[in-house]
């Protein structure tokens, strides 16, 4: 962890086990709480991180224990940028179905990215030519609590 002025950077690398998801989620929640975000707001950021790490482990690294998931948290003032990177083959975000589409409503999967988009301000993907996907999520922590409620 690095801290300077009103900025802070935390980085963690985990192996591709579902049991490790919570480690990364807890960092997100504590970072938010330390920045003055209330319990609900911190929870929703943690939830977005949980979904991103789960996707990286399951769909990116396909549970290959030799492959790692890296998470970085950059807090500058109220702006939090979180990057979750895997070592997988990548995917086409345009092919991810809309879970609100009536024909997808009763599907048992496909809501993770939707939740991430709901709870964060912006997200984008970058795909490394040599393999690996990075999901960059940003959130302005000064926008107040009740992330899900405000967007429902």
């Amino acid at each position: 962890m690095e801290r300077g002025g009103d900025s802070e950077r935390i980085e963690i690398t985990i192996s591709s086990r579902f049991e490790n998801i919570e480690l990364v989620q807890v960092i997100a929640e504590h970072l938010c709480e330390n920045a003055g975000v209330d319990e609900d707001g911190s929870h929703w950021v943690g939830m977005a991180v949980r979904e991103a790490v789960a996707n990286a482990i399951k769909h990116g690294n396909r549970l290959d224990l030799r492959k790692k998931v890296n998470a970085t948290f950059d807090l500058r003032g109220d702006d939090l940028e979180i990057t979750i990177s895997d070592e997988g083959a990548g995917f086409d975000p345009g092919k991810v179905g809309d879970p609100l589409n009536p024909q997808n409503l009763m599907k048992t999967s496909g809501r993770g990215i939707f939740y991430i988009k709901t709870f964060m301000d912006e997200i984008h993907y970058s795909f490394n030519p040599g393999g690996g996907t990075s999901l960059v999520m940003t959130k302005n922590l000064g926008k107040g609590p009740g992330v899900a409620t405000s967007k429902a």
Partner: protein, 111 residues
Amino acid sequence: MKATTRTVNGIEIINLQGKITIGAGDSQLREVITNALNSGKNNVLLDMSGVTTIDSSGIGELVGSYTTVTNRGGKLKLLHLPAKLNELLHVTQLITVFEVYENEPEALASF
């Protein structure tokens, strides 16, 4: 995740406690629903009050359980929804799918 079950008026009340998340509870939920159906209990009331954490996998299992029970001619309803789970069902519009109750006698009478 821990699940305790009891039967009232032929309705299987399943009290879920703990996490329903990827790799920790999602498959257990499927198992407990399958057990209820295999023992002839097609009407299921899931008491969610003890659920501490749920993610998209857990939500997916709830949807899958609903479909499985409905396809067997039964009904699956939810009781005592924690606020955060309620939010997750709202934003995905799944709240329009599930019947949700805050009161057990009322829930039982609805079957």
